[in-house]
Subunit: 371 residues, 2 copies
């Protein structure tokens, strides 16, 4: 853990040490409002994905603006958010093994806890844990609607699992998880719409098959920032799991916007400083790949179209600088991370600012919660 | 921070929760010994790079086996290692700005502290900080010997900076930093040897130019795990900054080994479990890119040549599995990270094991020390 803090509340923005993870509170609050507006008056609710921010301060604001609760990917993340007072948490993942189940199940005494399955063995493990701890767990069948990751094939397999859940003491069949991650990063709006149309078709067919077996399907949940308007309008989904919308990142920003897509704005930045300017054609900044994740490509340089962040080493970033670029040793830049989720996971806190002043430091309390 | 620990000392290996970062102590100790052997009886010393491990327990063992101290990339990392009792720390980076200098300089009361420069402005800042805090700082001129990152061009520019350092109160000109990172990842041994021959030529020329100006050059330092035998044998370098050798990673393992190269072995693993096996052609494991950095490619699957880790999402890894693969839900695998440094930076502790038993948990105390 860093022995020092990058800033204190009340500091002027220009004094924030580098590299640091900054949240523009005005932009962030506008993003929260845009999502609330996009879902208002429709029969669809938001379960905000907290894997993106890992930050209880943000989760509490999402719930205050209407989110039913959060989802996250790890039992350890769930524990952090339950501890922070979130009352409805879905682990959008398979949770297996005694160590994890022994920790997950007791959380259901303090909050509604949901989890996914795509195999009978997982249902068995959850039922045993629920019984051992005297709790009820919400269980969703994950259906592969195009992501080709976890999830059973649409149709019969899902029906079999739903029956098994219904029969399990301590388990409540809560519905279907139908998440299509890759669709969100298709650049063309037509391609995204087509992918989600196919996903909704598979989800709807599976829901009807389970209902035909006499089992109610309360919830069809999924979607993320890049496609949620299509799931929202599908007539099949009734819950949205968007997370990145609070921050936006360079990768989502690269999507071409279609009619009806919501224009979220960049609110998350890595503040960095030029530490070497030994040649005219490049500047070296102090934010490398331990400061801004590069799995979805390099960060963008905010409001400096003349500059490109072209290469990341562990602790160095290389900025290509045309001869005309005004950029001196010690100058600071704001980077828009390529991918917000793993970037946030590199920091212990968010430096939250409004205008030119630091307003708060929010702990990224679930950072590193891998178990 | 994870609310839970993956293991406790004394646990059998098979009970370690997943994903977790594991250190095979036997392999690690053999790697330490191999490096000590490779430098023994030569006029060259090891300054182990702690950016790779960020772990005082490892640094103390490196010093016990003969390392003069450590190097690291951030002032915040230096603070962690000085606090842990390391007496000689070189920040192999430019350190700029009041906030950083105000924190770095006082460390020189407890340890020898070195830092790099490639601009007169940095020398000025260091001199002011040294004077303000009543300390002496070692200053190295960074020379660009082929990495094209930081560093002045070989020759005259370095002489000018050396003169300025010598004239600076509170500063001690300690030598030249001549690090060629990219050379270490050239796959062919001939290419690595040629790159370091050119680097050593540039370093030697610069050293002679400074000596011709009447300034002694005590130290020429640089090198890393992929090339250190060439710097060692160059007749120019007298200090080696290798770091990854303690762990090895998939990327270094992919280098073709040349005559004289030292065969370090993989000692660092991400333990992961299969959490979904919904189709025969893939298994989904619980270690994604928040558990094993993918900037240098996907992790390898240890001792399972039939399996390939083909895709990483944030919290999911996709393992391609031939129909013949014996791999069931709940099975565990050991991954060899693509790149050890940023992988270590994702965890709060190393689960150290010997044989089939967990022996210790070592805090990764400088994880996230970005400032």
């Amino acid at each position: 853990m860093s022995p020092w803090k990058a800033a204190q509340p009340g500091d002027p923005l220009h004094k924030v040490d580098t590299p640091a993870l900054l949240l523009d509170l005005d932009a962030f609050e506008r993003n929260l409002q845009r999502m609330a507006d996009a879902l208002r008056g429709r029969d669809i609710r938001l379960r905000a994905h907290a894997k993106s921010h890992k930050c209880p301060e943000i989760a509490l604001r999402q719930v205050a603006l209407g989110a039913v609760g959060i989802c996250c990917q790890k039992a350890g993340e769930a524990a952090v958010f339950v501890e922070a007072g979130i009352k409805d948490v879905l682990v959008t993942n398979q949770v297996m093994g005694d160590a994890k189940l022994r920790r997950l199940a007791p959380l259901a005494r303090k909050a509604r806890i949901g989890v996914l399955v795509d195999d009978a063995l997982q249902v068995k493990g959850l039922a045993a844990a629920a019984e051992a701890h005297g709790v009820t767990l919400d269980v969703y069948v994950e259906v592969n609607v195009g992501a080709n990751r976890c999830g059973v094939a649409p149709g019969d397999e899902a029906v079999r699992l739903a029956r098994q859940i219904v029969a399990g003491a301590g388990l409540r069949f809560a519905g279907l998880q139908c998440y299509h991650g890759p669709a969100q990063h298709l650049r063309s709006p037509q391609a995204r719409m087509a992918a989600i149309a196919a996903a909704a078709e598979a989800a709807g067919m599976t829901r009807r098959a389970i209902e035909a077996a006499g089992i109610a399907v309360e919830r069809v949940t999924g979607a993320g920032t890049g496609t949620f308007v299509h799931e929202r309008d599908s007539g099949v989904f009734n819950e949205i799991q968007a997370g990145s919308y609070v921050f936006m990142d360079r990768d989502y920003g690269d999507n071409l916007r279609g009619e009806g897509d919501v224009a979220f704005e960049h609110a998350l930045f890595v503040r960095t400083a030029v530490m070497s300017r030994a040649t005219v054609e490049r500047a070296i900044v102090d934010a490398g790949l331990k400061a801004s994740s590069v799995d979805s490509g390099m960060p963008a340089v905010w409001q400096r179209p003349d500059l490109s962040y072209v290469k990341a080493a562990d602790e160095h970033g290389v900025i290509a600088t045309p001869a005309s670029a005004a950029l001196s040793l010690g100058d600071t830049l704001m980077l828009v991370p390529g991918h917000c989720d793993p970037t946030v996971n590199l920091y212990d806190e968010l430096v939250c600012y409004r205008g030119d002043k630091v307003e708060a430091l929010w702990p990224i309390a679930a950072r590193g919660a891998l178990l």
